[in-house]
Symmetry: C2
Subunit: 135 residues, 2 copies
Amino acid sequence: MTNFSLDARLAADTHSVTDLALSRVLLMNDARFPWVILVPRRANCSEWLDFSNDDQRELLQEQLGVMSVLQELTGAHKLNVANLGNMVRQFHLHIVARFETDAAWPGPVWGQGVREEYSDNEAQALIAALKQALS
Amino acid sequence: MTNFSLDARLAADTHSVTDLALSRVLLMNDARFPWVILVPRRANCSEWLDFSNDDQRELLQEQLGVMSVLQELTGAHKLNVANLGNMVRQFHLHIVARFETDAAWPGPVWGQGVREEYSDNEAQALIAALKQALS
């Protein structure tokens, strides 16, 4: 059995927030969109279908929990939830708070424009708020 | 209590396949991508969070069922699953079979190029195959 290790590109593009029962919680380092990524700590999974039934149910609960927290913290106009994985095959679930005024609205966020990194202070504040709300 | 009725834009862009316990199954009328849309038959829902716990669990099971069927029927290289809803607010879940040779790879399918409608024969064959596999 292979151990889980976070994909290098996901690690490079994100800040680590916390670990839930199943998933590592990451904050995409893009100040344009409040954007959380869940990565179940299981090796060799790229599709929802690759997880056990128990893990699928837990992943749904963690997805819903992050959605509630993002909605509460940001007042988003819409939440976008997606597993694409066409570029990074390690399974990862995007949960993005969208606003009618954001840089990509009403299109999807992927591949739109250039990522704008958070300042250290901004990142730390958002990470702390997410961590507290998810605990 | 308001009754469910399918959003007019979703209806215009798709063929109806069948009804599962919770969701209407639609085939996006775009021959570039094998693309199913699930629409739970509930009024006034636009987010995963708007459904009851039972409906959330059922929706996940229907999502997984459609994923299995699409994988089996198409041999997709990757499945993409998303709820966006930035344009059409009625909750709908996209499940798209992706190929490394398809018109949008590796980007997402939304807003890419121009939809290419199926011929009547193509659509009927795919609808019949989906309906049988889902029954």
